[in-house]
């Protein structure tokens, strides 16, 4: 079930139940694919949230009800195009204290050994719900509740690119240098936003992420390979 709301003069916000759930994500993505398959000139862009799909129109919406009826009928269509393939991406992360600058403090607040934090974080498979906040910033679901930890009361002015952090019930990777309040547990040499390739962010909504713990030595090696663009990310197709 979902509802439609006007969002300014040129957008329609479609909302699902306010929970974070993969079933909702699946429904949103299928709806988005059906809308895209219309190749309609009226739709300019779309934006995905945990429980929402916002359709941005090219022109001012003159008749909201009529546009909603159109979208509703698109929703009931059978998807004729091939479903978009999703992947599990393996992301190497170095959890060394040099990069995991908040690990010691987290270990105290969570009452967990640092090794447990690392093990727990790299054990789970995370689902990419959507990209937002910064270019290439993945909103990931699936963090083990043992690692839930509030954002830092005083955000850092600069978090290094590639930093892997935990903020509340979420985990994520900073795709660029940015101010930020997440607790930093490690760093990946992988580039999450690269304008020099045709698809600047390799991951998309519905993909999955698995973090693989690596040593500092491996990190340095990978960093060089990534900078030379000769590192191939390891991925497997998700079978539905």
């Amino acid at each position: 079930m979902h509802t439609y709301k006007p969002f300014g003069a040129k957008a329609i916000l479609i909302e699902w139940k306010a929970i974070i759930a993969e079933a909702i994500l699946k429904d949103i993505l299928e709806f988005k694919d059906k809308i895209n398959s219309q190749k309609s000139e009226s739709y300019l862009d779309y934006s995905i949230g945990y429980n929402s799909l916002t359709i941005i129109f090219k022109d001012i919406i003159l008749d909201f009800d009529k546009e909603v009826e159109k979208l509703k009928s698109i929703y009931t269509l059978n998807l004729t195009t091939k479903p978009i393939q999703n992947f599990i991406w393996e992301i190497p992360v170095c959890y060394d204290l040099e990069f995991g600058i908040d690990l010691k403090e987290m270990s105290r607040s969570l009452n967990l050994e640092i090794s447990d934090i690392i093990k727990t974080h790299s054990e789970s498979i995370y689902t990419v719900f959507f990209i937002g906040f910064l270019p290439g910033f993945l909103y990931l679901g699936g963090l083990n509740s043992k690692l839930f930890l509030d954002r830092k009361p005083n955000p850092r002015l600069n978090v290094e690119v590639g930093s892997v952090g935990i903020g509340g019930e979420q985990t994520g990777v900073y795709p660029v240098n940015s101010a930020g309040g997440w607790n930093i547990i490690g760093r990946t040499p992988i580039n999450f936003f690269d304008l020099e390739v045709s698809n600047p962010c390799f991951a998309k909504s519905g993909d999955q992420i698995k973090f693989i713990a690596i040593t500092k030595r491996e990190f340095s090696k990978l960093e060089i390979l990534v900078s030379k663009k000769s590192y191939q990310l390891f991925k497997t197709v998700i079978n539905d």
Binding site: K10, I20, I131, F133, L195, C201
Partner: protein
């Protein structure tokens, strides 16, 4: 080519922005006051997606290394060519080595300098709008060179002067629609929202304008969802933030209002200390 002699307070290259990349987390950007930027391109007979300079409160000094035609619209910061005052909203013929500078701020916050055929800096993701981590530079620096379109000069001295509605700079009315979470507020809060004269705080940039007044509330945050330029977010502290052109694509604060396109343009010509009122469209 334009040589930047002095970069000014905050000068950026803007066009219609990066459209179609919200799903990659890429902000739209584009000219803050699209009414004035369209006008200046229009006067030069440029396509409306030609890139131009967005100049905040003047302060910059530019030298044209080739002949061209220019037009300046938006705020009035007393523009001068070779120290002689020039008109806004009018075609100005530029000779090689002419220098553009600004003086006293008369009204407005941003002006737009268009050159015939547009500024030809590198396009990234379909746009020349400067944005951190997307374009190489995001602010103009002294010593920069900006490539411009090489045109045969249109020597037809045009005396046409477009008259701009002063209301665009003076009106205190900011028109808006109900935002997605408008109904989460009660009647009393709605009353405050529309009866308060809000003032713009010091915390302002191209991403958003934070307002000074407080709207007490205990609205829970929402699950991260789309935000647009013009979205008015209500923070737990009660401070309102009006998102502007460089805003993120998603946010977690309740979206209580959505400012109309015309009023985003109007707000772009206001700054710290300026007052306005939200009016439902």
């Amino acid at each position: 080519m334009i040589k930047v002699l002095k970069s000014g307070f905050y000068t950026t290259i803007q066009d219609k922005g990066r459209v179609g990349f919200a799903s990659l987390g890429v902000p739209v950007s584009g000219a803050m006051d699209s009414y004035s930027s369209d006008l200046t391109n229009h006067i030069l007979n440029n396509s409306l997606d030609c890139a131009l300079l967005e100049i905040t409160l003047g302060g910059c000094k530019l030298q044209f290394l080739s002949k061209t035609t220019i037009c300046i619209s938006g705020g009035d910061f007393s523009p001068k060519i070779n120290n002689k005052p020039i008109l806004l909203n009018s075609k100005i013929i530029i000779q090689e080595n002419d220098t553009l500078s600004f003086g006293k701020v008369n009204f407005g916050v941003r002006c737009y300098l268009a050159v015939k055929g547009g500024i030809l800096s590198d396009k990234k993701m379909g746009s020349r709008s400067t944005f951190k981590n997307i374009t190489n530079d995001f602010l103009l620096k002294s010593g920069d060179f900006l490539p411009i379109y090489n045109v045969k000069i249109d020597f037809e001295t045009s005396k046409t002067l477009v008259k701009v509605n002063k209301n665009h700079f003076e009106s205190k009315v900011i028109e808006c629609f109900r935002g997605p979470e408008f109904d989460a507020l009660d009647i009393h809060q709605h009353k405050i929202l529309f009866e308060t004269e809000f003032s713009i705080s010091k915390d302002i940039n191209r991403m958003g304008y934070k307002l000074n007044e407080v709207l007490e509330n205990n609205l829970p945050s929402i699950l991260t969802s789309a935000v647009l330029s013009g979205t008015v977010q209500l923070t737990p502290s009660g401070k309102l933030i009006v998102l502007m052109r460089d805003c993120q694509v998603t946010g977690g604060y309740p979206r209580v209002l959505q400012v109309s396109e015309e009023s985003i343009n109007r707000l772009s010509q206001k700054t710290t200390g300026d007052k306005f009122q939200f009016v439902l469209k």
